[in-house]
Symmetry: C2
Subunit: 481 residues, 2 copies
């Protein structure tokens, strides 16, 4: 943590600069199409280095506020002003809930099997932006060479090469994790499942962000646990004062959160919040299950730290996978369970004995051969551009009164439709027109967010998707009248 301070300071600097420029745009001091101060000028004005300004401008570009014109400089994007306002902080009623979202989820997810349905529902990146050829080739290579090893159970904690690679990469998230702490899993869902079961039992209360990924809600539902929804801000994530109050009021057994790019919000919890969160929970010995599957998909210039980076008590169970960045279908994830390592390892054995050997070896080879960082840079650029493109289309086609998140990473948009519009109705009408979209209520244990939809932006923009977003907007507008 000591060593991380200068970095954090630098981040603060360029975020400040970006924030100031964003404000100028917001207040129309800088208008759409207008040139913004050159990097050099801004550097002099703000008394920061040229590289800090460059980072600030990159951030603004990724947020879709400015654009670079070659040989000419940076300009306020023409369409940027058209983006509707952001949704407000969620304010769930303060009580725990038994969860029941499975029926709805089954419908949304079932749609992924049908190639004729436009995939704005389930959140996954298209194979077009993934290292398809390269990874499959590596898999073929690994399979040809693995011999007997491919056949044997890769008993928990799992493939040593992969665990070593994961430990190395954890540094980018500010975490020092020993390969021996890591347990590999069949994707992050299994990791979250094991983590939840390692720290809590049926009947226990789990505090979560709201909205939150429906897979987590289903998990809590199926394990007979109770969900306590904590107010969550679309930019900053978990509202820590609210969490602190809840911790006093309820016997919270664990917190499960996605500080980096909550799905569906795309929120990014600032480092200071992460530190406070870990401290808050550490004082009470409440474990934090941290879902960091989107952490590598930041639009800002730097990989955000995991909350785990601030943990000194072994109370943070860090879960992630390669499903959002390399290959959903390979089903390779992991958990670094801190002091719960042994329990998670045993649960893994009970769950599925072992993770498939060859997919782990292929992912480890991909990580080892150095293409991952290059791939991530391209992937982030693509996803940031896609999210921007989808957001513009939503702005264009959705009815007045629609609100829209500004995700700081990941690849989903959280769209608040005008009050009174039923997302469930929009969802089912869209499905009958061959378009899948995720309705808001599945992101809440209490099936709130009745007028929200989540839009998956994991697929490259195309005419078909353009038409689908326009249709969604029309359906929302019809439902609004």
């Amino acid at each position: 943590m000591e060593a991380a301070r200068p970095l954090a300071l630098e981040r603060k600097l360029y975020e400040d600069v970006a924030e100031r420029v964003a404000l100028l745009i917001e207040q129309k001091t800088l208008r759409p199409g207008e040139r913004i101060p050159s990097v050099r000028a801004m550097s002099a004005q703000q008394r920061v280095s040229v590289s800090t300004v460059l980072q600030a401008y990159l951030l603004l570009e990724n947020r879709g506020l400015i654009e670079t014109r070659p040989q000419s400089g940076h300009y306020v994007r023409v369409r940027a002003r058209e983006l509707p306002a952001e949704p407000r902080m969620s304010r769930p009623p303060t009580s725990t809930t038994r969860v029941t979202v499975s029926d709805l989820v089954a419908r949304v997810y079932g749609a992924t099997r049908d190639p004729h349905i436009v995939p704005l529902g389930a959140a996954y990146p298209s194979a077009d932006v993934l290292p398809t050829e390269r990874l499959n080739r590596l898999m073929a290579q690994v399979a040809r060479r693995a011999g007997r090893r491919a056949m044997a159970y890769d008993a928990p904690p799992g493939c040593p090469e992969l665990r070593r690679q994961i430990a190395r990469r954890a540094l980018t998230a500010g975490c020092t994790i020993a390969p021996d702490e890591i347990v590999t899993t069949s994707g992050a869902m299994e990791a979250l499942h094991l983590a939840l079961r390692a720290v809590a039992d049926a009947g226990d209360t789990i505090a979560i962000e709201t909205p939150t990924y429906y897979g987590v809600l289903q998990l809590i539902e199926t394990l007979g646990m109770r969900a306590l929804e904590i107010p969550t801000h679309p930019r900053d994530g978990l509202h820590l004062d609210a969490l602190e109050t809840a911790l006093k009021q309820f016997r919270v057994k664990a917190v499960l959160a996605t500080p980096n790019f909550n799905n569906p919000l795309g929120s990014l919890m600032p480092d200071a919040h992460k530190a406070r969160l870990v401290q808050l929970l550490g004082r009470r010995e409440v474990p934090l299950i941290e879902d960091d599957i989107y952490g590598d998909l930041h639009f800002g210039p730097e990989r955000p730290r995991a909350a785990r980076a601030f943990d000194r008590d072994g109370l943070v169970l860090l879960c992630a996978s390669f499903s959002k960045t390399i290959a959903p279908g390979y089903r390779v994830g992991w958990c670094a369970p801190g002091r719960f390592r042994e329990r998670v390892e045993r649960l893994k054995f009970m769950h599925s004995v072992a993770t498939a050997t060859l997919p782990q070896m292929a992912i480890a080879a991909f990580l080892d051969q150095g293409g991952y960082d290059r791939h991530l840079r391209a992937l982030r650029r693509n996803l940031a551009a896609q999210v921007r493109r989808y957001a513009e289309a939503v702005s264009e086609h959705f009815p007045r009164g629609t609100r829209l998140t500004r995700p700081a990473g990941g690849f989903v948009l959280w769209v608040e439709l005008p009050a009174g519009v039923s997302a469930l109705e929009v969802h089912s009408r869209a499905l009958s027109r061959g378009i899948s979209v995720a309705p808001g209520p599945i992101f809440s244990a209490k099936q709130r967010f009745a007028n929200f939809v989540r839009v998956n932006c994991g697929h490259p923009w195309s005419d078909e998707i353009s038409r689908a977003v326009a249709t969604l907007g029309r359906l929302a507008a019809e439902a609004a009248t």
Copy 2:
């Protein structure tokens, strides 16, 4: 079921013949080394066809009672008489139990990670008897050709080609299963897990065989369910009268059993028992979770039917995998959940979203390309020979008073040490000498079977294994005095 009758009749015939010859050997009417009546003579004597006698002799050969000498005929095996008596039927106390075997299991299973330990513990077949080269080559081929499909979530119910192949092969177990009923899983453990959760909740009572596979006990433990151990015979499996009594006495929520080659017993429930079992449960609407992972590994000439073959109510959830016959490390299994299909499919999504795509495709290709039956014939021959060889070594080296199962399939031996010998002690002394063996108590919810060990015979006989079995015998003898 109508069509199956002649087959069942034929099976009855050769089993009768085999039984009669076995009795002659048992009573020393036919002595070790002596020639037994020729196929032709026996056919005339018993008024059955030549082919029935051939099947009977094959069965006896696989059981290790007789041997074929080329150009000469069939002989009573010289060592056959040395095999000690079989263990008796298990007689558990009649009460339900909360289960706690995980600590012990972790030690047994942990040993599989160490290549220097002689692997008589965990039950898995060596890569030497598996289609290692062929399958890995298929995997490489599939990976090179799969393109985008390899990258995508293979959403439940899972890979269509694989489900079609599984449905086709289910016929050999007497089952007609639609591909659409099947849900693919990460191995049979996940299938059993999903099946258990689909039919029962924490606190519910599950009737099981005793001894039973420790993975199942752990599952019941971790799901907070209660186990009700039913007396089980080392040859016939579940004692149905005892089960019927238990069903009257307790609110049994489901039965979980392995009619074909219970692990560790190697018992084979006769068809008539299977029919009665299904009927017994059907009348009470109690689901049967049938674990059939060893079904393809019969030593007798015919693939035994699954209990599911007798089910007309959709109450049998048939679970299996390719981990015991093709590749443990590929982690491909399945569940045909009958009327619980939808629930199992949803649970699968919650557990791990999807099964890894490429391993499923590789297994499907292997099944499709017709090598599976040929492979199975060789595998069964190898395993039967290995089990026989291990059994002989146990007979030779273990102390007087040892009892030994006669598995009808699979690849484990269940060894009853003389009364008073602590299997846990033998286990830990063996481990300190670099030998893993599974101690009896982990096969019981009540940690009974204090003087039993299970010996994995999945590895080809070798000097190292020979020495290890001799060491085990010596340790058991020391503990007996």
